[in-house]
Structure formats: C-alpha cells, structure tokens
Subunit: 321 residues, 2 copies
C-alpha cells in the first residue's frame, strides 16, 4: 500500500544523503515526498522554499576547502571548516598534497557511529605536514555569523549554523563549536587532547554522537557521497574495526579540489545558512505542512535540518533557473 508514488514516512532530505542531483532533480526528489493535492495552507514546504530561492541564496563551495576522496565505489567530497579548525585545515591540505593518504584505507566501520580511515600499518610518517597539532575543539564565538535555532537542545545552551555547518555556542563562555551531526568529519586522536592532527579522519554515520562535541577536532562535513561510506560492511572486530586486511577499503587518492584542473572539478553549491531563505527552510521542516503529518513537531533538532547542496550552474545545464 506504500510505494514510491505514495509517501510515508516522508522524504527526509539531508545533505550528503545521496548522489547530489542537479537542482531540477532535487526539486523532483522533494516533490516525490509530497502527495498530490497536499494542502499548504499553514505554511510553505521545503520544496516551496527551495523553488523560491534566489541565486544569491547559494554559495559556491570553495575549491581550496574541498577534498575529493576516491575509493573504488566512487568519490566522497568533503568541505573543510577552517572557520573552526584552521590549523587542521592547513595540515590536512598539506597531508593531501604530499600524498599521505594515497593507498591508505578505511579500516573501521562501526554501525550507528563512524567510518574511519588511517594507515593500517601505522608506519607512514608525514614528510611536510605535522602528525599532531594543538586541539581545535572550540573557538571564540566573537564575530562568528550564527543562525540560531530557537529550539531546546539536549547538549548545548544553543545550537544553529555557521557558514553551512551545524554548530553550538555558549554565550556565557563566549565559545562556539561544530556539532557531531550525521556526515560531520573529525580528526581522530589518542588520549592526549593534542594528539590528533588529521592523519586519521572519521565521518559520523549514525545518530549524532554529541558526547564527542568539544572533545575532538571537527574538520568538516561530507557534502557528497556519504552513502559510499555509510553502506560499507560493518567491521566485525571491537569498535567496528575490520579484522582482515582484505576487508580494508583502499583510498586510491585524496586531492584538494583547487589542485584539480577547473574542467575536472565538480562545482558544488551549498544553500547559505545566513539568509531568510534558510530560516524559512528550517521552519518548513520544524512544522511539516503536507497532508501526511497529523502533529507538526513544533521543534527541530540541529542535526535534522537539511543542508542542501547542488551542482552549480557553472557545471550543469540542468541548474535551477
């Protein structure tokens, strides 16, 4: 009785949840989650909001902050977050440029938690980059554009968005930090707070492990290809590690998009999070307007707010008009 022409549970468009589609496809995908004749009297749906978005509501994702990670099943694209972890961003770029990650592997896939890659032999030493860096767990909230959510959060005094990243802040302490939502990328470390640096990275692939917030350096977010990581076979060893070398998923290479010839880049655009369009989008998801929902939630978790990404008009003929 429920097929792709009907709806529930309703489509849940989360950034990086599948192949990034041209805007026209994105609209079609959203539409597929809404019934024919749905009543929108009480407000606008996300489709309505995205269809009304202006070109200036989208920002190009900076190629200098973009990583292409290639594995046999395809490409994972990560946007770095130098707003929060500038030293790690620099070091990860240096690691990438010296080829540190080439031939390394995904060695850990823990269900409802993380996918992680590193040197399985623990033998490689960075040549130009650093192995460890001082922690960048939080930063000053001063001067940081922060689109705040009005909703209560279990873990932080306030949550919201900074330049496209889900974040939290503590006005009393004057600090802000990225939060561990699905798709966020962090730098693994040992017990010492300053023992990370980017040689090992993990991606959140389960319910937001918010207890990690302010305990580890978040370095970015997967903006395309998360499903290549989240659908990997789970590791059978403790903590989701693979227990046989042949299970490891080899990373053929990681590159900074800025180092790739422009003609070979994928011109991704992310919906800006400091606009009224984004505020409208949040509201469209806080209280769903279609016929399927009987009780609008009235609230939204920072990790349930979609962060749309599309292929930009410079690289796609199907761009949004």
């Amino acid at each position: 009785m429920l097929n792709q022409h009907q709806k529930p549970p309703l489509i849940h468009t989360q950034t990086g949840k599948g192949p990034i589609l041209p805007a026209i496809c994105l609209a079609a995908m959203l539409g597929a989650g809404l019934g024919q004749g749905a009543a929108h009297a009480a407000g606008r749906t996300m489709t309505d909001v995205l269809e009304a978005a202006k070109p200036s509501d989208w920002r190009p994702i900076d190629p200098a902050n973009t990583l292409y990670m290639d594995i046999s099943s395809g490409r994972v694209i990560i946007e770095l977050a130098p707003q929060f972890s500038p030293k790690h961003a620099d070091n990860i770029r240096a690691l990438v440029r010296e080829g540190y990650f080439e031939g390394l592997a995904i060695t850990r896939v823990q269900d409802n938690f993380v996918v992680q890659w590193s040197d399985p032999k623990n033998a490689r030493t960075p040549r130009t980059a650093k192995r460890t860096l001082p922690a960048e767990f939080t930063r000053s909230a001063k001067g940081l554009p922060f689109t705040a959510l009005p909703d209560p959060d279990t873990y932080a005094p306030q949550t919201g968005f900074v330049d496209g990243f889900p974040a939290a802040r503590d006005s009393e302490a004057g600090t802000a930090w990225p939060v561990h939502c699905y798709g966020m990328v962090g730098a693994g470390r040992d017990n010492d707070a300053d023992s990370g640096g980017g040689t090992e990275l993990y991606v959140v692939t389960g319910h937001a492990p918010r207890q990690l917030d302010r305990n580890i350096t978040v370095v970015g977010r997967v903006v395309q290809g998360i499903e290549l990581l989240s659908a990997l076979p789970r590791g059978p060893a403790p903590m989701g590690f693979y227990d046989k070398p042949e299970q490891n998923v080899t990373i053929s290479r990681i590159r900074v998009a800025a180092d790739v010839p422009p003609s070979e880049r994928i011109a991704l655009e992310a919906l800006r999070t400091d606009t009224t369009t984004f505020t409208d989008l949040i509201e469209s998801r806080r209280n769903r307007r279609d016929e399927w929902y009987k009780v609008p939630a009235g609230h939204i978790d920072v990790c349930n707010v979609p962060l749309p990404v599309r292929v930009g008009s410079t690289s796609s003929s199907a761009a949004h008009p």
Copy 2:
C-alpha cells in the same frame, strides 16, 4: 596512531549495532574502548555497571513478542511493543502466521532515514489479518512504568524508557509514545492516520527522525541484526526506493519466535530499564569517565542511551556469571 588497541572515538555501544555477543564477549567489547589505566575516580563506566549487574537486571525477551526475519545475509530480530501498539502487535503476528511476508522484499533503503519492506507488486491481500487498523500513535501514560531522563529534549516535554523502549510522555496531556530512535520499527501508512496496519514496516537507520513521533504507529525495535539492514545499498530512486526489481532484498520468511521450536530459538535477554543498574548505566554514558573524554557531556539524548541485549544463559555457555 589510532588502532583497535587505542580508543577514540570511543566505542558507542548501541543496541542492535552488531552481532549480539555472549555477555562475556560484550564485556570484552566494551573493555576495548577503554584505555589501559583509565582513571574512573569520578564515577563508574558502562563496563563497571554491566559487570556489577545482577541476573535479575536482565529480562528474557518474550518469544511471543519476538520476530525472526530472515534475509539472505542473515537474521534480523525484532521485539514488538504491545505496551504501545497492542492491535498492531496482534495484527503483525497474524500477518506473520498466515505467511503474508514470505517472498516479499525490502524495496526502500534511504540513507540516514529508513529501510522499508512491503509487497513490491502491491497485489497481496491479507487473508486472516487486517490490512488497516486504527492508529496507535500514543497511549495513556497512566500505569506505565517510565524511567525518566532528567535531560532536556528538543521534541518532547520528557523522554525516558518504558520496558526497554525509548519513549516520551506529556504529563499535561497524560499521553506517552515510543520515540523514533535508531533501530525502531514502525508501520508505514498513507495519508489517512488509520491507513497503516503492519503490512509495510520500516526501520530507522539514521539520525532519529523525531518528527515522525506521534504521527505513525511504532511497533517495536530491532534487537539483533540491524547491521544487515543499515549496510544495504541505498536505493537510487526518490525516497531511497530501488528502481529495479532485482535490487529488492527478498524476505525468505518472518516467524514469531514462540512458533519456533524452543531448541531453535535464540534466548535473548535485554537489560531491564526500570532498575538502578539501568539508571547507573545512563549516568555512566551521560558523563564518560575514561581518560579520553576531556569535557563530559553532562547530558544525554534518549537515542544515545545504549539498550544492551545479550544471549541469555539458557542458550549460551558463555553467559555472564
């Protein structure tokens, strides 16, 4: 620098996150996430709590409320929640017993959202069971044992646990309902609130889509084998549907454990959620005690509280002493 003998990000033991191990293995798995020489001065870790648990802290999962769903990669085990949805539990048992699900298929795998199964041809009609039932979205909170969390929640006035299920309640309205955490199972429906009934079921395999709470009938929880669902290839069509019949994952059969000869049953036990042991476990996760954590979270989301399940002593020689 980070391997399985070291730790971060720390193990995140969530029910149904992997093969259920005998208790002795469960302890070993937890131990692997804790460093040698970790200081526990401030309190007990989850390992400490589970090691000190009494046999009476565990409850056998009732075979009458247990479903074995077999797919080619293995078995998924679901505990029904008749406390919340008694009519749906009865109807799902009836559907199972008339063989309704045999040969049906998983047709939808949407990244960071749900895995769903149904009749791909939409041609099968229940013989003894009903196709639709009145909604069981919420129930009276009266008389319901409720282990409340003290932590603020984004969506509900209060969250906690009822008989092993994550739940919420509204004391003013006098209602309670199960919440859509990772691994929860619900009955798909069309726009009409009373259009579900159990012929189509979905499992949450992403960040808790709490906007579904009170909008759809939750029927249970996956207690073993969730990784057989969560690691399935994502569907390429809108809403994560497979677009070719050969992508569908066939369900060879679903049975009620009570209908299986006792010698062939898997005697699962769940940690009771109405005990001081469970309250201690919550606290051990609210504020992590090992050396890795620098800033204890001070709070915990209802969907981040582990709900341990083990193979009981009646079926395993490796049971916890």
